[in-house]
Each structure stands twice: as structure tokens, then as C-alpha cells.
């Protein structure tokens, strides 16, 4: 099951064996830190969370990100109705380039990262306002890459439940 998710977070230097990493910038162009993804088998780093492995691509295009992360000390259950409402909204709306929730542990959501190609965000600055998870947690609006994320197809729906603790919308039980 490990290949279906990876660790993801801000780092000072990319972990050895990282799947991909890229500098991020605010929408004003100010440096905002280095984001990296590394295999599930490797050690977690401080502040890292689990992410849908499919969205990571070292050959991916520049992206705009809405990175909504729960503040330190705030623990929100995946089963919270507000989280369910956000996932329903993702399913109902036009799919961006990718969405992955961030998983802290078996029960709690750490946030979500939503992306769209940078050129689309350039033409449509209000895109950042469309992230349903930004209503749960304060979202950072970033530009990143190339070389970190890629477009994936939308979840089939209407399932908004997680599969054995995987970051939604990763689907399928390990036994299936």
C-alpha cells in the first residue's frame, strides 16, 4: 500500500531519494520554501503529511497551489461534517489539475493541496477562491515548479470516504 501515498512537506533540503522537489513562491513572487515528496518507506520529517502519490511528477509543469493546512495543535477528524462538505464540493465542481488531502494519522486530516496549471491560474486569479478546503483551514496561495506535480483525472465519485486511511481521493482497498 505504501506506493499509493508519499510523504510531503516543506524541507530545508530534499531528503535523500526524494521523488521530487521544487521551490515555491507566493503570488507576489516572494520565495516561500522548498516543497518535497519522498517515498512512504522513508522516515517522516517534522511537519510532513501523507499525500496521494499519483500527483507527484518530477517532470510535471509549473503549478499554482492552494495549500490549506491545519494550524499546529488543531486536530480535525476526517469524519467532521465540514470535511465531508469540502470533499463533496470537490466532487461537484469542475476538476482542477489535482486535489489530495493531507493525512496526519488514521483519523485526522492535516489539510489539502489543490493545484492547477500555472498558466490557467495566471488567466484566472480567482481560481484560488474556489478551493473548498480553504474554508476549513487558512490556505497559502503558491506557485511551484516545474518538477513537482502533475495533472490526474478526477475521482469517479460519489465516494468521499477514505480507503483504509489513504489520503482521499486515493481509491481502492488493499485487498481489491
Amino acid at each position: 500500500m505504501g506506493e499509493r501515498w508519499c510523504w510531503f512537506g516543506f524541507v530545508d533540503i530534499p531528503p535523500e531519494g526524494a521523488l521530487a522537489s521544487a521551490d515555491t513562491f507566493t503570488t507576489d513572487g516572494e520565495p516561500a520554501g522548498l516543497l518535497a515528496a519522498w517515498p512512504a518507506e522513508q522516515r517522516k520529517q517534522s511537519g510532513a503529511n501523507r499525500l496521494d502519490r499519483r500527483v507527484i511528477d518530477p517532470e510535471g509543469p509549473p503549478m499554482a497551489l492552494s495549500l490549506a493546512v491545519a494550524p499546529r495543535g488543531v486536530r480535525v477528524l476526517f469524519d467532521d461534517p465540514a470535511v465531508v462538505a469540502a470533499t463533496r464540493a470537490v466532487l461537484a465542481r469542475r476538476w482542477p489539475a489535482f486535489v489530495s488531502t493531507l493525512v496526519r494519522d488514521a483519523a485526522h486530516i492535516a489539510g489539502a493541496v489543490t493545484g492547477i496549471e500555472a498558466d490557467v491560474a495566471q488567466r484566472w486569479p480567482a481560481w484560488f477562491d474556489t478551493d473548498p478546503f480553504a474554508r476549513l483551514f487558512r490556505a497559502r496561495r503558491l506557485r511551484v515548479g516545474p518538477g513537482l506535480f502533475r495533472r490526474v483525472t478526477a475521482p469517479v465519485g460519489p465516494v468521499h470516504q477514505r480507503y483504509a486511511g489513504l489520503p482521499w481521493p486515493v481509491a481502492g482497498f488493499p485487498s481489491a
Binding site: R88, L91, A92, R93, R94, W95, T153, A154, V156, G157, P158, V159, H160, Q161, Y163, A171, G172, F173, S175, A176
Partner: protein, 166 residues
């Protein structure tokens, strides 16, 4: 409908655009879950609008019960996307605008020469597209009720999940 399509046979696989315009292969959409494939005439059909309201009630259960729904028509993706949004549906709509898959299944409805739609049909499927049951909805009362869909999804899930008896 093709005579070889019946319980226990396999629904032919196909790759079609979804409501986002992304190319999707039907066999990739189940991802290990039971799948309901619902062929419908189109946004213009009052019978379809009524039937969709049933599926919307089932959506409330499918979204927590690990079951997938796919609706399929000859309408182009932008029309499917608008119809889906208007319905508040949160499942995938596939578009078969040239009717090629409709003809593969022999599901062209001959009475509507304006739209050449699918015969309204519901397939309940295992993840590998093995057909559990088929409902011919040409006459409205032939369509699968939500009770019938619940029964089918229960039966398929029973067979799929090794921990059903836990």
C-alpha cells in the same frame, strides 16, 4: 441490446471522455468497488430527470458505501457537465457523442430520431465489468429502483469484501 450481454458476461470496455473532457477507460473507473453504469437519453428527457432524482437519493448512500456510479449518454462533455452540475450529481458522466459505444452494445433507441440516444439501461457490475444484473428502462417501470440497486450493491459487495462477515 446484444443478446450476449446478460448476468455473468462482461460489459465491453471502452474509453470515452468524462464531463471534464478527460479520457477515461470504463474498466479503470471501478477501482475495486461495485459499479452502476446508467445509460440515459439526455437532459431533454423528463423520464430521465425523474430517474436522476432517484439516483441522487442513492448518491447519499453510495458516497459512504464504496460504490461507484457512472452515467453515460451521447451528449457531449460540455452538455453532460452542465446537466451534472444542475442535478448536483457528484459522480462521473461519460460522453459517447458519436454513439460508437451505444452501437457496440446495440442500445440505440430507434424511436428518437432527433437525438439517437441510448435505450435507458442500468447495469450493475463487479469491478472487472462482470454483469450482475441488467435493467432495460425503455419503459420507465423497467428501470432499477433504488431498492433493487441496494440489493445488487449489497450482493456484489458481499462477494467482493473478504471481511463482510466481520
Amino acid at each position: 441490446m446484444r443478446e450476449d450481454l446478460q448476468s455473468g458476461s462482461t460489459l465491453p470496455d471502452v474509453t470515452l471522455p468524462d464531463h471534464n473532457g478527460s479520457s477515461r477507460r470504463l474498466s479503470d473507473l471501478a477501482e475495486g468497488d461495485p459499479l452502476v453504469v446508467h445509460c440515459y437519453r439526455g437532459w431533454f428527457c423528463p423520464k430521465d430527470r425523474t430517474y436522476f432524482r432517484n439516483l441522487l437519493r442513492l448518491q447519499e448512500e453510495a458516497e459512504v458505501a464504496y460504490a461507484r456510479i457512472v452515467s453515460l449518454s451521447v451528449e457531449p462533455p460540455e452538455v453532460s457537465a452542465a446537466y451534472r452540475a444542475g442535478l448536483d450529481a457528484r459522480w462521473t458522466f461519460l460522453s459517447d457523442p458519436d454513439g460508437a459505444y451505444r452501437d457496440t452494445l446495440d442500445l440505440r433507441e430507434g424511436t428518437d430520431t432527433v437525438h439517437d440516444p441510448y435505450v435507458p439501461t442500468v447495469f450493475t457490475l463487479f469491478p472487472d465489468l462482470t454483469i450482475h444484473r441488467i435493467y432495460n428502462g425503455y419503459w420507465y417501470w423497467g428501470r432499477a429502483t433504488n431498492e433493487e440497486l441496494r440489493r445488487d450493491l449489497r450482493e456484489i459487495t458481499h462477494d467482493l469484501r473478504p471481511d463482510w462477515e466481520v
